[in-house]
Symmetry: C2
Subunit: 342 residues, 2 copies
Amino acid sequence: MKFNFQTVADIGEFGLIDRIQKILPKADHKDLIIGIGDDTAVIRIDEHRAMVVTCDIQVENQHFRLKNISPFQLGRRAMTVNLSDVAAMGAQPTFALVSLGFPKSFPLSDFDDLFRGMKDQLAEFSANIIGGNLSNTEKDLIIDITLMGEVAVDRILTRSGARPGDRIFVTGNLGESCAGFYVLEKYGAKYPDEFATLVQKHLQPIPRIEAGKRIVHSEFATAMIDISDGIASDLNHICVMSKVGAEIYQKKLPVPEGIYNVASVSGKSVLDLALHSGEDYELLFTLRPETPDAIIQSIAKQTGIAITEIGKILPKESGYHLIDLNERRVPIQPKGWDHFIT
Amino acid sequence: MKFNFQTVADIGEFGLIDRIQKILPKADHKDLIIGIGDDTAVIRIDEHRAMVVTCDIQVENQHFRLKNISPFQLGRRAMTVNLSDVAAMGAQPTFALVSLGFPKSFPLSDFDDLFRGMKDQLAEFSANIIGGNLSNTEKDLIIDITLMGEVAVDRILTRSGARPGDRIFVTGNLGESCAGFYVLEKYGAKYPDEFATLVQKHLQPIPRIEAGKRIVHSEFATAMIDISDGIASDLNHICVMSKVGAEIYQKKLPVPEGIYNVASVSGKSVLDLALHSGEDYELLFTLRPETPDAIIQSIAKQTGIAITEIGKILPKESGYHLIDLNERRVPIQPKGWDHFIT
């Protein structure tokens, strides 16, 4: 006998988002430019300016473990998760609201450090916390941040503008954050020095605000997303929204040296880490075929961040695949980190 | 031997908010009209319009128990908690973002009903959910909503405008929601019919959006707040922010008949329920002394909600007190519901 009793774990995060979109009416408001389904919602302010707004909830032991990260680092990191979404819209961060849940036993000094971390990370972009809410929880620390930003109306870059022939780029390295996570899981705080960069990337990812702004202002950009679930999943979002296919070249994926040693202990291949691991908070974006290399080099130089071309947008019917090291076409599973299934 | 190790429970919610305000720099942005410390933050959109924005986190077994409330009702209620803050600014709700945390075992049908409830409550005001975020939790359901609204720049009503001589009013009844909570705790879902109104008020409070808008447009209003912690605490916020004192008249407090029977079983006095119990989500506001009664009657008539004059704003040095049924002056303890201490 089988009951038809489904739980959220049966359909996973993206199944749930589809469900929400079916339940909710299409938002119809004169000022709403983009609703559910992109890195942020976008609201028109006036003829020239728009506000972007996003929120992200971080739950203890789901997104972080307090044994691995200090409250100050956690405050910065929780803000970065949101800043990264604002970066993916090429927007300038402005205001944040913070909802915090924590048990009665939560140390006051940790409470202070958490806010200091959030403040510190925002201050780099002259943004401020302007409101929030506190609640008791039974056990776990919960941080939910809503972040707003501003962007020019004629510079709004969504996930849906990629066209066949467009070139695919990423900032920074892939798989580093997840590798850092495995290092902390295996060694704790006393990890070997050789892994310091990976751990740092996991604990203190850097939101690519400046790069995001320069990319949207280049006028050659067609789509952008931040890498929070791994490029296999995040590039797939661009493909689905843009109704296109894509190929990426394994030999061009920017993976750092150190990651090879982690892959052997984590039980994941380097390719798995590069494609399917989340929380790198780099930018994945597409540029028109004719984009001059000088423009890309200039963005890399001005921001001090490596920018790597990793693939090409294809017509939808050409599929979604990797060209592996032996020049074979391998279909990419658009699977990333899913908290409800994994 | 005593360690100087303080937890958040040692200082309570308002102590924590003070602490946050000391840690955070004064937000300095050309578009920011009101930051931390009122019902909502307020951001200038243009010469005429401003955006209000607020967030409120609701945690299972802290703010609600799933045995007492259906997911649909809970969705409506969580939205109302935020709508009430927008009402207290006299604003029109526009957009919401929803962060949801829930365990893997959460039933899919409950997930759907929760969103249907939120959508339904917003639809009454033609407002929409435009974004959000989902997370796994170990055990508890968590709903954090960010709500935005719009108000005219020249109609922004804060907590800080009350002046000695102003008259103090409330919409609806006091203490009903908390009485309803005690009924549910004592009887469960099979409570006696006589308590239906109280239970309904607890499970499905009504955000006073229309009343809020009419109050700010009356041009006689000087301060407003929504009643979320009980008037003893909420009126005290107005007094502190406006640098004034106040007196309220016990005989004028609008408490419904049914509450007397609950008081006897809850172990709280009717006065306690009226002054110190939270979650009524009525509006508490002050009007200039010369406000014509016709204006107040007109707002009551147009919204169908009782409006009761309960007291008067005094100079700060006159204190903060109740005139009891024997015409004695009794100092009011500005104590409301505090999740961290109670």
